[in-house]
Symmetry: C2
Amino acid sequence: MTPSSLDELIDALRCLPGVGPKSAQRMAYHLLQRDQRGAGRLARALSHALAVLRHCERCNTFTESEICERCANPRRDASLLCIVEMPADLAMIEQTQSYNGLYYVLMGRLSPLDGVGPRELKLDKLIARASDPAVTEVILATNFTNEGEATAHTIATLLSARGLKVSRLSRGVPVGGELEHTDTGTIAQALVERRSL
Amino acid sequence: MTPSSLDELIDALRCLPGVGPKSAQRMAYHLLQRDQRGAGRLARALSHALAVLRHCERCNTFTESEICERCANPRRDASLLCIVEMPADLAMIEQTQSYNGLYYVLMGRLSPLDGVGPRELKLDKLIARASDPAVTEVILATNFTNEGEATAHTIATLLSARGLKVSRLSRGVPVGGELEHTDTGTIAQALVERRSL
């Protein structure tokens, strides 16, 4: 007895990550009952984003032009190429204000269980980008999760084979971290990768 | 440096209940990167639902016509009117297959802290509906939360003053429930409201 347009909305909301049938229903009622303005705005924002956003030819992140602003900026150091999983990671590195090179955004990570292999991640586009003669070092900044580490390892193998210098963000105890509250895996790594002073 | 269309999409997603900045960002990337079809479908479903859905003139639930199918069904018992908070509650009662009366859906509950008073809940529409001479009993089936109980109490006062017979779903130990695993508040209520056999 639910109207078909309401059924379809509840079903369509389930394409959002982490949204099951119960929350999709709650979201649909909320939008229709309490926030029709927000719902209209969301519909327009979705259509507009789908229409105008594409991947930067160089760094693969979302942009509205062929080359994103960052890649087109001549004041960035084109000899450094930092590889991250998602635009959110790029934003975090930018916030440190300690990196002035360029980026390549994978838009994901290798995840065989989810069917994401080297082909799905379009690693050939990354290799083409990293083969630019201006690049002297590739910095791997994928996450330090199992999947992120596996992705970094695969990319390092591919790029090293092409004679590129490849580095990885360091692992260790977080700045301000107390050993007592750091997990033993991190402490073990910090021991193995200790720096001579 | 985020494209404005992406910024706007992330911002628009925050109108969904329980979605903060981080999950809005995750949802936007997911839709654009992994599920553009789902995103297009969601945009269309939202626009369509906003265009065609309205409130049933009689029971206040969402419908695409003036009177919903259930209210228009002559085989339902028009002498019973069951008041619920949301369409999901109505669906639960229908699933019991033990009620054949009509419904009134409040589309919310009294919640002074969220600015939802009798006016926002349009209780005058409910009073008009319950004043239909065909109605002989109004069953309050709002939730047994603080807000649901307060809503039931307010509605009971309003309708009793108009000479209507008002009842409330019984409270007590759930069917199949073990006292050892039932909260003491429920057991206390079950004692107070004990039934003579």
